[in-house]
């Protein structure tokens, strides 16, 4: 029933994976996975974090070496020991964080990747080939533009062009929509559609159900390193996929009643005409006015890199205001230290957990104490009360149903797990204002629901939340008020009930109407 063995194209799969096994210390990422990939199909690999999707595809791309199992290309067993081997077999992969060199032009980046690159570059020729391909598949980019000057969406197009020009027949895309605005996602799907029609095999790694149902031909669901099932997209429904992804369907999000008083109570946070200094090529905030009331979730929509980090840092006190004032709990706290901001009840869930919140070579337990070291100091600082740290964080973690690997080094945790630890830590001390940047990035469906639920609960207890996200579904589901950040300014404010994703999406990308 679950096995949809009708190939859309010919009878011979382009790629056949047989019994792929791969384990890392302490984790079995792939446990005997069989998978067929045909030419002319978009094959979605769906699964929660740590299900083994990326690992499986990195094995296919030669990035990891499998512990066991076989890869067959057009029926012939091959050994893929490096990405180089994979590319020779016409397999290409676009990673989550794109790998382009900012200082080089689009054409130069693509040239670097070509297998038959001659000693004397004929960039003109390469540009011609880029343009031809770009027109065929609606991947329009300017080949002469510097990568540093084009948007993330365009960079992704360049990555795809790179693979096409190097004769890849199998394109693996790892969470390609993560970095895109809604209308860009639509564009990507159009591109994939064109490629599929020309016989390319496309593997889409994702955990976004809606997208899968929109653009895939077949869907394979991984769970805990096993293949839970494969089905035709036409036969799939959200419920069926969720049942495959989890043993039991996750509880839905209780959004709860929105606070009625939010308009009237004095704001917890108020930014008045705040500006930050211009640092390097970064964005500076300009004349930002923003209020967060108690019992209110204010969503900040925007494509990342439009001032989100600066906004969080201003609230936290990391980034000084060069103009304007910052009021918290009705007091002017512009220029206060981060420690005093945290002590007075500001929690911060940053966009990049390992870079901005955790110390990689410390244990989780030690990391848990870092935001409030003085709270856990005993004997005037000569000792740290680790039992108290554990007790306090455990309570929060239990509420979220997260398990805490206390003595693991932070760097050994997966991205999703790390994010869970940060959420548990930041929600521990009953924060009054929560600044959450890309809260659910990297989280699987169940953890994401738990994290969102925790924010809703905090709101019900009267906390204010500043929620920064690119996921419009999340913003619409959670926010009581929605503002759009574009190029360092707040360019729009909406009631989520009275607006739609396209209106917000256009403001996000600065393309009016």
């Amino acid at each position: 029933m679950l096995n949809a063995d009708h190939p859309p194209g010919g009878a011979q799969p382009l790629i056949a994976l047989r019994g792929i096994c791969k384990s890392f210390p302490g984790v079995v990422a792939n446990d005997g996975i069989d998978l067929d990939i045909y030419g002319g199909e978009v094959h979605a690999l769906l699964g929660e974090n740590g299900a083994g999707k990326s690992t499986l595809m990195k094995v296919l791309y030669g990035f990891y070496r499998a512990d066991g199992g076989q890869v067959l290309v057009e029926g012939k067993p091959v050994s893929i020991d490096s990405p180089h081997d994979a590319r020779r077999l016409h397999i290409g992969m676009v990673f989550q964080d794109l790998n382009l060199i900012p200082a080089l032009s689009v054409a130069e980046n693509i040239a670097l990747f070509l297998p038959d690159l001659r000693a004397v570059l004929n960039l003109r020729e390469i540009e011609r080939r880029i343009t031809a391909l770009a027109e065929r598949y609606q991947l329009k980019v300017n080949p002469q533009a510097l990568v540093s000057e084009i948007s993330i969406g365009e960079q992704q197009k360049v990555e795809i062009l790179k693979l096409l020009l190097s004769d890849a027949r199998v394109l693996i895309l790892d969470e390609p929509t993560r970095v895109l605005a809604p209308h860009e996602v639509q564009g990507l799907f159009t591109v994939l559609d064109g490629l599929r029609r020309d016989g390319y095999a496309i593997v889409l790694i994702t955990h976004k159900m809606k997208e899968v149902l929109l653009c895939a031909d077949r869907i394979s669901v991984l769970r805990g390193g096993h293949l839970a099932g494969t089905m035709l997209a036409a036969e799939a429904t959200e419920e069926r996929l969720i049942t495959l992804m989890f043993e039991r369907p996750p509880a839905g999000l209780k959004s709860g009643r929105r606070s009625q008083r939010s308009g009237r109570a004095a704001p917890l946070l108020e930014l008045r005409g705040v500006a930050t200094r211009a640092a390097g090529t970064g964005i500076r905030l300009q004349r930002v006015d923003l209020k967060v009331h108690p019992g209110e979730i204010v969503g900040v929509a925007g494509v990342s890199g439009n001032g989100q980090r600066e906004l969080c840092d201003v609230v936290l006190g990391m980034e000084p205001c060069v103009a304007g004032r910052k009021y918290l709990w009705g007091r002017d706290l512009t220029g206060q230290s981060i420690r005093s901001m945290r002590r007075s009840g500001v929690a911060f869930i940053p966009e990049n957990p390992l870079g901005m919140a955790m110390v990689p070579f410390m244990t989780v337990l030690e990391n848990m104490a870092l935001t409030r070291t003085r709270r856990y100091a005993r004997h005037g600082g000569l000792a740290v009360d680790w039992a108290a740290v554990k007790a306090e964080v455990s309570t929060t973690a239990a509420r979220l149903a997260f398990t805490v690997p206390w003595y693991a080094l932070a760097r050994s945790l997966s991205g999703g797990n790390l994010q869970r630890m940060i959420i548990a830590r930041e929600l521990t001390h009953g924060p009054k204002l929560i600044v959450a940047s890309y809260l659910t990035r990297g989280l699987d469906v169940q953890s994401a629901i738990a994290a969102r639920q925790a924010l809703v609960e905090a709101r019900e207890q009267g906390a204010g939340v500043l929620l920064i996200s690119e996921d419009l579904d999340e913003l619409f589901a959670l926010s009581d008020r929605l503002v759009v950040l574009y190029n360092g300014r707040i360019v729009g404010e909406f009631d989520p009930a009275e607006t739609d994703a396209y209106q917000v999406g256009h403001l996000m990308t600065g393309s009016e109407g």
Binding site: F348, V359, L370, Y407
Partner: protein, 350 residues
Amino acid sequence: MSGVGVQPPSAMLGRRLLQTGARYLVMILLAFLLFGFILMLSGKEPLPSIRDILVSTLGSGYGLSEVVVAMIPMLITALAVALPSRVGLINVGGEGQLYIGAAFATWGALTLQHWPAWALLPTMMLLGMLGGALWALVPGYLRAIGLVNETITSLLLNSVAPKIVGFLIFGFWHSAMDTVKTANFVPAARLPTLFGTRIHLGLVMGLVLLALFEFAMRHTVWGLEMRAIGGNPQAAQRNGIPLKAYLVTTMCLGGAVAGLAGMAQVSGFYGVLLLNFSTGLGFMGFLICWLAGGEPLGILLLSFVVAVITTGGNLLQLTRDLPYAVINILLAFTLFVVLARPAFFEGKKA
């Protein structure tokens, strides 16, 4: 790698001790092996020379005591590097801080010489630490406000400090007999010696500081915060740990420790402030700390080894007619071997 974090860190201390010891032993053997080759090439017999080094230092109680005497300032200056290194600061200024610390302590010894020892010595220690700390404040502060890298400034200040000491000696403090040094310190200004040797109380100071350092880093809130800064300054800052304050404070503390080494040298070893009394003690401390990876145990061990090499080397000049440069070669080999860190005794790096 993932196995490391499964048990609480304290359970691994014993194994860590053993591993560290074995690792350094192999490395030192390797360095001596290479040194032997060089001696052979220069037409000397390697074994007798190496035997000379070992016998003259480890072979007798007196030899051993002289090694310990040489080891004291290196041990302390190594610690002066290790402390700031935990927050990611590179303090190359141990030499300068040592000189200024010695100068401050000397001022105490000369002007307060009527004080009893129980008051004078602690005062001199504090003065030495104050001097070193002030000298380190300059690079520490400039770094904290993001103006200049501390490596450059602390290094450059090294050539200024001896000149200041020279100025003080020539200008004010020189004895009636001799212009390149002060008058001998009064007995109350001398650190007591131990076991009837030249080993002075500086050894105890060094060991106590080393133990304090280890304890502070491992168990206290400040150690936790410092490790956080060293591990990820950005995260530490966003978590509310006052980064700038720590940068300035740890740099000054490092300077204070180096200043104390200077005080120990003039009060314990020389009993007089001598022009250019240190030729690279601070640098040797830097080297030792670096080789030991900032680990207290490694610092203890390596400062002993380096002391063996330098004291033994002095003897080689007499017995084997070898130039002192040979000792630099041996030191360089030690450095080389430790830096190369052959994989087979790498073990698990925590």
